[in-house]
Symmetry: none
DNA sequence: TCCTAAGCGAGACGGTACGTCCAGTCTTCGT
DNA sequence: ACGAAGACTGGACGTACCGTCTCGCTTAGGA
């Protein structure tokens, strides 16, 4: 709070307007021409801003987008309706929505490429939407374990990967739509994998 | 069916040497400078080839890489050692190796971005390594169902996604290494999800 | 004359058709796109001929054009109507016509550039249209001297330059049309310069 | 009239250094490799300048050269030593020098070709060296007429062509050196053509 | 009637330069 | 001191031709 104005603040302060205009232009252009045809030059022109003004704030195009997209992540209220299945499904619907939204889905492939290039971008994305969702799902799974709906030995991180991985893979590699029906099938399979042993103890010994 | 030579083939034929040199240079440069610093100009120089010779064969940098990487895909002998678990594990070790190989793993993020841009690239990649592995795994799973090791109602495509998705997601999104231990955990969870349940006690006699 | 057929001439003879097609295409393309946008590739395409067929015959684009244009030079009958003025005027009208003809005038600037680059081209052009006209004018001037219409000391080569130079300069440097009226004025001035001294002996002593 | 700074001039101003370096490199390279082997790429490299910096200033290679050469044109002091012959000779020596100078003569053929292609280049060249010389000669001739050294009816433009044309033609078409001796012969002939004739015996009193 | 040699259209080859675009930096003036 | 404007060097883009080099195919004369 005391950060600003500790120093008497000389010169013209940074324009909030410019900041917002840049993020807006970045989002708009990404939608229009795609992540790869996006250029700092283009964003600057569209935002009515000098290129240097962008470079002053972000070291790379990827971080501009990372912030622009990050601004879209709302706080996710962690559901607690009594059953893992229901709570997980509620959170997964948010993820499904992200894949379906033309404003966020198509950004994903570019972000993945940017993450591979830059650890800074990678961290931004990992702790952004991805981290928020994982945190929420983690809590829900933990409650499930506590309630006995999942095995006590459940590897939670693995479970998160089994929930999130197939959607991510289907979208980016297979190029197929991520529907609610598909997401539900993934949830069923993933939770089944960690369901308490007793219920199907003899699955193998039966052989 | 006589695919080649339907047309009499006029003019000087394309050089096999140049073709190979280009793919080789592409692989080498990708290892050295990374996918993003890769340029057609650089590949041409390294291969000792004119730029036009590259453009004559491939419409985009991505397709050059797609073919170069695709050339690495060997025919996968579909294992048949009597158990789903063993056969799946054998195939998954190949995938794990791909993520670990510095010649192929780091290409992935770029290819994903390229796929999003170009349907041609997308198809090339999908039917390349990815398709080959899915085909092999599909056969193995089918045999597992036939043997009663998996439920008769198993959604094979979903199972494939549960096997492949977590690795893909872990590598690209989480930026974590894909170890054999992790892969085995994924295999166990995924197969467990589709293992015959106790309620259907007599998995074989029920048939 | 014995030049050809000293060696028995083996293999397929060169095609007269191709030869003519090339020259024709060269002329046509020069008219359409201009001398500078002219390319061997373009000529070959237009003539329906392989590039090598052109290179087999001419070492450079300039020589193709030189031959194509040279083929347009007819034998000039040297006029002899009794007066230098009349005979010179008749020949100069041919030159004027060359500047006016859209098939030859616009070639000139390109040929001038080509001459500067290649002595072979230079010789071809100098001994072509230019040489033919100079030869004819030379004879006419010589007869004029013999008849006493021009000074006995007349430097004929200089006189030829005074006749040809202004037109060449006006066309290429000033970019102005070379009209008959202009040509006549040049003829008058040039011949006046070499008219017998007696008629104006006192021009300076009169002062 | 205040040509510059009508508009407040925003952004970084163009570098005078770069400008000069480009023109210098153009001249140097022309001398070294010739007009035809000259390339924008080469000039940029030599000048230590980006290609765009050249394209920002000139639309074509020819105009670069035109300006570089034009920069060599000094103001010509119009001589006034009392006689047309002397004044004309003094100016013509400058022209002769231009043809002889290895830095300007060999450029001529390329400029002529460039003029034919581009009216912009044509105007630049015409109003450059050529225009300056013609203006000076025009004044000298006018004074000669006023003094009675030339006929009152002299067509000055024609006279200029008779002076300049033969040298231009001899250099470009005949490929012969333009010597002082030759130039003097041209001057004599051209002035002789417009010298007052004996028939108008009293050139002055007749006025 | 074959054989040898050269010419043919076609088009790929290694190169060079084109003119454009953008990256990331720098320099000016105005706020 | 910041902002916009825009010039700066640098380098890759994809295209067009250069002049050369295979291809498979005529088209001739001589064996």
């Amino acid at each position: 709070m005391a950060r600003r104005r500790e120093v008497p603040a000389r010169g013209r302060p940074r324009s909030e307007e410019a900041h917002a205009a840049i993020l807006g232009a970045a989002i708009a252009l990404t939608r229009e021409v795609g992540y790869d045809a996006l250029s700092i030059e283009g964003i600057a022109d569209r935002a009515g801003v000098g290129k240097a003004t962008i470079y002053r704030r972000w070291p790379s195009k990827e971080l501009v987008i990372a912030e622009a997209v990050g601004g879209m992540v709302q706080r996710i209220p962690v559901p607690d309706a009594g059953s893992v299945r229901g709570d997980v499904a509620q959170l997964m619907r948010v993820i499904t929505g992200m894949y379906r939204d033309p404003a966020s889905g198509p950004l994903l492939s570019g972000l993945v490429a940017a993450m591979a290039r830059s650890e800074v971008v990678a961290e931004a994305v990992r702790s952004g939407f991805n981290g928020v969702m994982r945190d929420a799902l983690r809590q829900v799974l933990r409650r499930g374990i506590a309630r006995g709906e999942l095995q006590r030995t459940t590897d939670i991180e693995l479970a998160l990967d089994l929930l999130a991985g197939p959607l991510f893979y289907r979208y980016l590699m297979l190029g197929l739509p991520v529907t609610d029906r598909y997401t539900n099938a993934v949830i069923d399979a993933a939770l089944h994998a960690f369901a308490p042993v007793t219920r199907k103890r003899n699955a193998f010994t039966d052989r």
